[in-house]
């Protein structure tokens, strides 16, 4: 099995090589980081040692601290999210900045520094950047002043406007001129018109919405609470709710990976004090929980699905004491590989 799989990877690599050599027209040559897996290492609080590692799954070669290696300076932030849009890679640090790099070689092409508080994610629309930000903490560690920051150019610059939204906005998703905001604390989907930079509509959903995804041609949002997980899709014509699924999965977290056939891999954690982590698998196609405990363990901190190789990547933060670990599983659940990565691995970008 393993051997066959490796061959497959070889073919894939060859295919990429051909594509890389045959670029024509506007296509640029493939850079070192245009293929493979980017591993988001969030870093530890107070240390700002977030970084990106790059894995070439065909050779197993893992390159550490890619940002620092290519830019001769450390990333210096807690890496919350990586967004690939408009041929740019946006690295969002929740310590208050966005670094913009070329996806192929990771060279810095811009940044948004200053005027951000706790940025969480980013989307591009109408040639602008929209950055979700919790806003500053108040004395009781609440974030009543959350906003979406608007930056005029795709290569960063200064924040020109802050659009007030519900507390703790997370993921953003652009459809045409609309930017959908997952308002996690109050269970709201707010829709921003990217031209007028105003919230034009708010849709209430169940649970804490945290992640948008496309499935079967629709835009969906994933939400959770302590008892259930929820999937809600939207009519894009009139911006109303369309389909809805709920599953009895307790202790779900915001970490989710999207597999084939609308299969979702969701990290669960009982949290303190018992602290048991797990991975539940559901499918929004058949509407039933498939596997409530696909994997169990402790320290799970992120999950990703590699559609090309049909593998599941599970990140373990190892208590943030030092380096974390990534374990790769096949769809059947067999362990394929395990590797030491940076501090606090929390997610993946499959190229």
């Amino acid at each position: 099995m393993k051997f066959a799989y490796k061959n497959q990877l070889g073919v894939l690599a060859l295919f990429y090589l051909l594509v890389a050599c045959n670029d024509s027209g506007n296509e640029r040559p493939l850079g070192a980081y245009d293929t493979g897996v980017l591993i988001i290492n969030e870093g530890a609080f107070g240390a700002n040692d977030g970084e990106v590692f790059h894995l070439d799954p065909s050779t197993g070669i893992l390159k550490e601290n890619v940002f620092e290696a290519e830019n001769n300076r450390p990333f210096a932030g807690l890496l919350e999210d990586i967004v690939l849009e408009e041929e740019r890679l946006y690295l969002v640090a929740n310590t208050g900045k966005v670094e913009i790099v070329n996806p192929g070689d990771f060279k810095s092409i811009g940044s948004v520094i200053g005027d951000l508080d706790i940025p969480r994610s980013l989307a591009t629309a109408q040639g602008k950047l929209f950055i979700s930000d919790y806003g500053p903490y108040d004395a009781s560690f609440a974030t009543p002043d959350s906003y979406i920051a608007v930056v005029s150019g795709l290569d960063g610059g200064t924040v020109k406007k802050k659009i007030e939204v519900s507390n703790k906005p997370e993921d953003l998703f652009t459809v045409g001129k609309y930017v959908f905001v997952a308002g996690s604390e109050e269970g709201k989907i707010e829709i921003i018109d990217a031209e007028t930079e105003t919230v034009i509509k708010t849709i209430e959903v169940d649970g804490r919405p945290v992640q948008f995804f496309e499935e079967r041609g629709d835009l969906w949002v994933y939400a959770y609470d302590s008892e259930q997980v929820y999937f809600q899709s939207f009519h894009l014509s009139d911006l109303t709710k369309k389909e809805y699924r709920a599953f009895d999965i307790s202790n779900a977290t915001r970490s989710i990976a999207f597999g084939e056939d609308a299969k979702m891999y969701i990290l669960t954690s009982t949290g303190w004090p018992d602290y048991n982590d797990g991975i539940a698998v559901v499918s929004i196609n058949d509407g039933e929980t498939l596997i409530p405990e696909w994997k169990t363990g402790s320290g799970f901190y992120g999950i990703g699905y590699d559609k090309e190789r049909q593998e599941i990547y599970v990140a373990n933060a190892k208590g943030f004491q030092g380096n974390g670990q990534v374990t790769v599983y096949s769809k059947s659940g067999a362990e394929v590989n395990t590797m030491e990565v940076g501090r606090g691995p929390s997610g993946f970008v499959f190229r």
């Binding site: 107070g46 004491q321 030092g322 501090r343």
Partner: protein, 614 residues
């Protein structure tokens, strides 16, 4: 007694301090190392403390001792790491009172100004039997020193420096045959707007540090009375308030503020009779810390008594008991704790050349008994020549640390089931001294230590909770040497020290244990002083080796070496008034360095100090 003299003279920087006599010319302070045979002790002399008066204890320790100080920026949190242990593994005492915060289990050396104390001494290794809680890696003892029969004395000191540094200190005292009083007041301010290369920003521009100003105010009062020929009463009070902006780590733009206010008071009664001294001690410490708007407060009350006596010429004993009552009102919980401890020490001077000591302590807190804590040690002067002497020291001891209030009660996450951290350490040392025109004191120490049940806060989902998980094995070599030589009319003094410290984390990867985070394997200090007719020139350097920022194969920070240089005129006089003047350049070569990852540190800076002794 000769032996004690040796311990002091060989290891310490004070060349000729004899044991404290019982004549009440001096205010009595129990000698700390009388039962510390076989243990490494470093004393800082008053001249050195005076040179560091306008600086913090953290600077002193980093530049002048084998202790690694984890500095979170200039004037920011600075915590000591003795022999590869953590900040909470160092016991701190002020006039015999343990002053570590009961909620945090450690002290911030940045808010312990050298100005407030007269004496400082470091004890290395686990000495739970001698000093109690938290003396795992070592302990630091600060004391006031006052005298009788000295009349009026006064001092005004002013230091100006780079980055808005403006430190002032006033002290005044009076002492008669029966009564002694010394008051001091200090204010230390620094804007800390130093420039640094911000490597978190594109183009790594040179920027000024923001949100890093610090102000400290303090008042210290020492009092002593000779009640009669046989009894003495001694009191000390220390108020210190530090208001600091917390310098953000590079890449963050936080604007945190922290205010720390401490009241510390101690009252000692000594009764001297023949060959014994009875001491009754009470103390009160109140620590108040406000981080942004969250308030954390702890209060501790101490009551202790011990009896120190000798039997014949060769045997000395000390036995005592101490009760500690702790009340914590933290931002997320309130808790109380009571601690009781019984201790006993014995020393046997087998001959002029050999002395041995045994120390025992039993400690209990709430419903828990800490296992019995023994230590044993000996000093043996095995060779004595005309001008040279060799002393061999060896000791073994246990140490422990009661889980802090936060460890046990923080809500959420506190773990009431935590066990105390425990250590066993042993060391062997060789001291070589030579007198004469070219004199030196040199010591070489090998130590080994094992720390179990080391408490680490681990994330449990979104809540962090402490667990007894880490097991660490430390060993190392410490060399310290100091030499004096007169060349013509110039007095030369050279000091060198080197520390190799291995601290292996046996927990994360037991098959391939690695060095603990932020624990340099190599550290070294050097100093050169040339003095001539009241002028002295000093050059100092210290080196800190590479250290990882996390466990496992984590990022490694570069080593760094810093140089300081200074000029001092100590003989400036006008009538009876002495006014020494000194000028210091810190980080002489303007080295860009980080002690902790992404924590900016200042480049070259200057300090000018004028002191007037009345």
């Amino acid at each position: 007694m000769t032996l004690l003299f040796w311990v002091v003279s060989v290891i310490g920087f004070v060349p000729t301090q004899d044991t404290v006599s019982l004549e009440q010319v001096e205010v009595y302070a129990p000698p700390l190392d009388r039962f510390a045979q076989g243990q490494k002790v470093v004393k800082f002399d008053s001249e050195l403390l005076e040179a560091y008066a306008a600086r913090s204890l953290g600077d002193l320790l980093q530049e002048q001792s084998p202790v690694f100080v984890r500095q979170y920026g200039a004037g920011m949190l600075a915590s000591p790491s003795f022999r590869g242990t953590s900040a909470g593994h160092t016991a701190l005492f002020w006039n015999g009172l343990p002053i570590n915060s009961p909620s945090l289990g450690q002290s911030d050396l940045s808010i312990l100004p050298v100005e407030a104390i007269d004496q400082a001494q470091l004890h290395f290794g686990s000495s739970g039997a001698l000093f109690g809680n938290e003396a795992i890696g070592g302990s630091l003892h600060m004391n006031s020193k006052t005298d009788f029969r000295k009349g009026f004395r006064g001092k005004i000191a002013q230091t100006f420096g780079s980055f808005g540094l403006f430190n002032s200190a006033f002290s005044g005292g009076f002492s008669s045959k029966k009564f002694s009083s010394k008051s001091r007041f200090y204010r230390q301010f620094v804007q800390n707007d130093f420039s640094f290369r911000d490597i978190s920003q594109p183009g790594t521009p040179e920027v000024k540090a923001q949100n890093a100003a610090a102000e400290q105010l303090g008042f210290v009062q020492d009092l002593a009375w000779n009640l009669n020929s046989k009894s003495q009463l001694k009191a000390a009070f220390w108020w210190n308030k530090a208001d600091r902006e917390i310098q953000p780590v590079m890449g963050s733009n936080t604007t945190d503020q922290q205010s720390d206010e401490s009241f510390r008071a101690v009252l000692d009664y000594f009764r001297f009779s023949g060959k014994s001294i009875w001491n009754l001690k009470t103390g009160w410490i109140q620590d108040k810390m406000i981080f942004n708007e969250s308030l954390n407060q702890t209060r501790q009350f101490f009551a202790a008594s011990d009896w120190d006596f000798s039997k014949g010429d060769r045997l000395q004993f000390k036995a005592g008991v101490r009760g500690t009552f702790v009340q914590g009102d933290l931002s997320t919980y309130s808790a109380t704790d009571q601690r009781f401890e019984f201790y006993q020490s014995a020393r046997y001077d087998a001959s002029e050349d050999l002395s041995l000591s045994v120390n025992l302590r039993q400690f209990a807190y709430l419903d828990n008994f800490v296992p019995f804590l023994p230590s044993i040690g000996g000093d043996w002067k095995f060779w004595e020549g005309d001008q040279q002497e060799f002393l061999l020291k060896a000791s073994v001891g246990k140490g422990f640390k009661v889980p802090t209030l936060n460890d046990r009660f923080w809500s959420p996450g506190g773990n009431p089931d935590l066990l105390p951290e425990e250590s066993v350490s042993g060391e062997i040392g060789l001291n070589w001294t030579k007198t004469g025109a070219f004199s030196w004191d040199q010591s070489l120490t090998y130590y080994r230590m094992q720390v179990n049940n080391w408490i680490i806060w681990m994330p449990q989902g979104s809540v962090w909770s402490p667990e007894n998980i880490r097991e660490v094995q430390n060993q190392g070599i410490e060399y310290q040497g100091k030499g004096n030589r007169k060349i013509g009319l110039v007095d030369m003094e050279i000091g060198l020290s080197y520390t190799f410290s291995q601290a292996l984390d046996l927990t994360s990867e037991p098959t391939n244990p690695r060095q603990l985070p932020y624990t340099p394997k190599h550290q070294a200090n050097g100093s050169l002083i040339a003095a001539y007719a009241g002028f002295s020139l000093n050059l100092g350097t210290f080196y800190v080796g590479q250290r990882a920022i996390g466990t496992g194969n984590a990022r490694v920070l570069d080593s760094y070496q810093l140089w300081n240089a200074g000029l001092r005129f100590s003989d400036l006089k006008w009538g009876k008034t002495r006014f020494p003047l000194s000028f210091q350049v810190l980080n002489l070569l303007d080295k860009d360095y980080q002690v902790l990852y992404l924590r900016a540190m200042p480049g070259r800076s200057f300090q000018l100090n004028l002191t007037i002794h009345l």
